[in-house]
Amino acid sequence: MTGRARFAFTALAFGYAFLYLPIALVIVYSFNESRLVTVWAGFSTKWWEALMHNEAMLDAAWLSLRIALASATLATLLGLAAGYALDRVPRFTGRTLFASLVIAPMVMPEVVMGISMLLLFVGSDQLLGGPARGFLTITVAHVTFSLAFVAIVVQARLADFDRTLEEAAMDLGATPRTTFLTVTLPLIAPALVSGWLLAFTLSLDDLILTQFVSGAQSQTLPMRVYSSVRLGVDPQINVLATIVIAIAASALVLSAWLTRSSVDKRP
């Protein structure tokens, strides 16, 4: 090995060990017999069974899933519009403000966004008598901060692609609408898929914003996990973590495989 190769190997080995050792331990201890997450007492699947019968956790997971589906879909539609406007419309009134508004939620501290959105919902509650805090308000909050991520992905993809394809379609007599639906949309579809997945994951994972805008009745999965974890480590959370990690890993492997085969098919 040359000096550089050895350096590269060390940097990566150390980095990946740092990233994955904690995760690996969480997975291992989900099969621990003991309640203590720090002492190994033999193999057991009892925490897996316990979680499968934990109604509160399952309800929370179901609510989180519904919110994530709704908010990711809405965020993708709005993010597509925002990304399209940013890339294709060089001049309109308030463009600078618009561009800032799109990017800002990405870097805004979550506690600030949380308190500000809650104040909006409290205000609308006072003036308009609604909406009740819960599914709807959480979904709106998630859309607002995840649409930025979709817009960025869409904008990058649009900036990247060959405009002559659209011009060719127009020259051949396609209306702007047909051109968009048959040329532009299929070409940016991968960006929309990854944008949707990003928004879905962000929604499923969000704690802070959700904690501010949710009502007393609606507990999402991260809220349940947080209130359980605050009291200390809990093997059922290890089980949940293992499931989440398994899903994320298989989704990522699948998407890598899909993009690879689509690259291979390219002439």
Partner: protein, 278 residues
Amino acid sequence: MRLVIALPFLWLGVFFLLPLVLVLGLSLGTNAPDLAPPVELGVSFASFRLLFTDDLYLAAWLSSLRIAATSTLVTLLLGYPMAYAIARAQPRRRPMLLMLVVLPFWTSFLIRVYAWMGLLAENGILNQVLRATGLVADPGTILGTEWAVHLGIVYAYLPFMVLPLYVTLEKLDWSLLEAASDLGARPLAAFLTVTLPLSLPGIVAGCLLVFIPAVGEFVIPDLLGGTRTLMIGKVLWDEFFTNSDWPLASAVAICLLALLVGPILIFQRHQERSLERI
């Protein structure tokens, strides 16, 4: 076409901009525990005065900035060699190596922070290893200290550092390095005068992506930092949820925003420029 602009514009105006205006308005109100919501609107700077005169709040601001800055630096020192190694790996290996960096990001943030709780506890796995190997006879408890908070931030935000660094390093023209070494520069000199300056955009983006959220971080100091760690995100949370002092919490939010508006603007300008370059 007008609708394409109007819809997201309107959405962000109502659900992002307007709420920030409300926070500003509320930060000038006074706390009224008997009312629901517990605020009396008005023009009072009492909350801001408290924030700038009370030692506790000043200490929280300073330690937030300090913890965020040192964690960002450590993340850079850890992330740069990784991004460099990936950028110089064989092209067909890069997607896999990059995916391994991104994968933890796709799992839950909360769970990644939780993973450290079991590791760093008094009888946690790290201390067991330290005792068993005899490296440290009596390791103190890391959980509940600022060390744990630093560790948590570095761990949680490492992918955000590696990605922008990789993007700039991958585009780097490596023949410049060969030229430098042909002209007699040692590897270190070539790195300092060629690679480092050329990867500066990635360094700036990565550091901002770590620093900005780290300053206002809540989950990590709350779960790993214990009661002794003061951070401003936690102060905001406690003022709001525990003390129900909405004007004070709003004032904290406004100050946090004012503090971060510089870094955020730099990041936005940077983001727009890098998109134009594509």
